[in-house]
């Protein structure tokens, strides 16, 4: 996957600059942020994004909200849970990077991983497509969600690349190896659970 970076450097002044920078020129912004990573700023941005996503989900996806246990659960449980998942994700990727011989700062990675979720802000306008009549709205919403997911994944790869100063291919491996291992672990646990019931 080729990711082009812009020459211009975005000066990091605050939330506005970082948010706009991540969305418009992610590589330059991440490079700038990684020089002086601020967990406070990154987590603030992350929490704002998660609040927007939670609200958009609770308002537009009644079924999913009910399955998750109601709006109260969506806000009260998923918010801290998403922070935990972020830290675990960063931790696992950091571990994978070290296993592959890469050197970098966990603080840096965590900060950039938090910022890589910023495109999820577009979940708010995207969620409105659920109200469109017929199947077109659902299809467009699905497509839009998929594009946003890819966007976030690409930013995560850039985050890893900028943190560990590795190639894009290596950064991809660092990002996906933990997920593959987790999938294998889940499959093993499921198999074990089935054996126990027999």
């Amino acid at each position: 996957m080729e990711i082009e970076s812009k020459d211009e450097v975005t000066r990091r002044d605050g939330l506005a600059e970082v948010v706009v920078g991540i969305i418009s020129s992610p590589v330059a912004t991440m490079r700038e942020v990684s020089k002086e990573p601020s967990l406070r700023l990154s987590f603030t941005a992350f929490i704002l994004v998660m609040m927007v996503v939670s609200m958009a989900t609770a308002l537009t996806d009644v079924e999913l909200t009910a399955q998750l246990g109601g709006s109260a659960v969506v806000f009260a449980v998923l918010m801290p849970l998403s922070l935990l998942i972020l830290v675990v994700q960063a931790g696992v990727s950091f571990g994978a990077a070290r296993l592959l011989g890469a050197r970098g700062s966990f603080h840096n990675l965590l900060s950039l991983f938090a910022l890589s979720n910023l495109p999820s802000l577009f979940m708010a306008p995207l969620a409105l497509l659920r109200f469109a009549p017929g199947i077109t709205g659902s299809i467009l919403h699905g497509l839009g969600s998929f594009i946003l997911s890819i966007w976030v994944l690409v930013l995560a790869v850039i985050a890893v690349r900028e943190t560990f100063q590795v190639t894009t291919g290596r950064a991809l491996l660092i990002c996906y190896l933990p997920i593959l291992l987790l999938a294998v672990l889940v499959a093993l646990l499921a198999g074990l659970a089935l054996l126990l019931y027999i």
Binding site: E17, V19, V52, M55, Q67, G69, L128
Partner: protein, 305 residues
């Protein structure tokens, strides 16, 4: 550059906040806010007090009907309810409870009979204000059935000796072979349930009880026959039932709204997983016969309409 950045951030913020505000507006009731909705509740399956295992068909339970009617009642935009009934009947107690729930519902209720609304399915329908059935709907079967299985010989084959101790002359009536005396006791019991069914149909359909007794032989009728007998009001499908409900509620342009139970939270789904696995393992290891026996045992001793 900084001004441009701030401007872009402002636009992004407005887009996000604006979207959320619109979502709040749209998330409110889409349908008519003037009480012009007709709630449609689908009731499919046998009537039972509780839901069976994962391999059993979905049941119509009093708890489910209570929740659905409550959802309809809480929605002030719903002026009347159509119950789409497709049921071969089921347990007497559960049918009576559901009948009470329908009878107590404060707004007009119309039943739309689907393929089948026999026995308990008919019982719960008679509490509605109006019944619509297709010409070919199967209905009727006003009667009671009780299955009694004597398992003594099965236990003998399995080498099990069961000794039953009772206090009360007829306490073990369901555990032993039926003799003429026990058979008579059970028949009196069933006759009483039959009378309860007949009285409910007579009251609900405003027909003379003796007339209902004449047709309460357990035979089934088509929708057309049922209309001639006074068990059904009109012939037609769901649309007819919706129009009828709208007329009863005084609604000019009815908008049908499906009333469904919200999905169960993920932890309840997860909680069902072990029993579902066990059901499937039972089926795989013991075979279909074991499952059929289990289902028969569950129906054993419970009188059914």
């Amino acid at each position: 550059m900084m001004n441009r950045t701030k401007w872009l951030f402002l636009c992004l913020s407005l887009l996000v906040i604006g979207s959320l505000v619109l979502a709040v507006v749209f998330a409110r009731d889409w349908q008519q806010a003037d009480g012009g909705n007709i709630g449609v509740i689908t009731l499919t399956g046998p009537i039972a007090e509780s839901v069976g295992g994962s391999l059993q068909p979905d049941s119509i339970t009093p708890a489910k009907v209570r929740k659905l009617l409550r959802l309809a009642e809480e929605d002030t935009n719903i002026s009347a309810v159509v119950l789409r009934v497709n049921s071969p009947g089921g347990s007497v107690g559960a049918s009576q409870e559901i009948g009470s729930l329908i009878s107590d519902f404060p707004r007009p209720v119309v039943v739309s009979m689907a393929d089948m609304a026999t026995s308990g399915g008919l019982y719960i329908s008679v509490f509605a204000d109006h019944i619509v059935a297709q010409e070919g709907t199967i209905t009727g079967s006003i009667g009671v059935i009780l299955s009694h299985m004597y398992l003594g010989e099965l236990f003998e084959k399995l080498g099990i000796t069961a000794e039953i101790l009772t206090a009360g002359k007829y306490k073990g009536i369901f555990s032993e072979r039926l003799n003429p005396e026990r058979r008579e006791i059970l028949q009196v019991f069933l006759d009483d349930l039959h009378s309860q069914f007949i009285e409910a149909v007579a009251a609900g359909r405003k027909v003379d009880a003796e007339r209902v007794r004449e047709i309460a032989t357990g035979e089934v009728f088509t929708g057309a026959q049922a209309q001639a007998l006074g068990l059904v009001d009109s012939l037609g499908g769901l649309d007819t039932a919706i129009e009828e409900a709208a007329e009863l509620a005084g609604v000019a342009d009815p908008v049908p709204v499906d009333i469904i139970l919200p999905p169960v939270p993920w932890w309840e789904e997860l909680g069902r997983f072990p029993s579902a696995v066990l059901d499937r393992l039972t089926l795989a290891l013991l075979g279909k016969d074991a499952l059929i026996l289990q289902q028969q045992l569950e129906k054993h001793l419970i009188p059914r309409w």
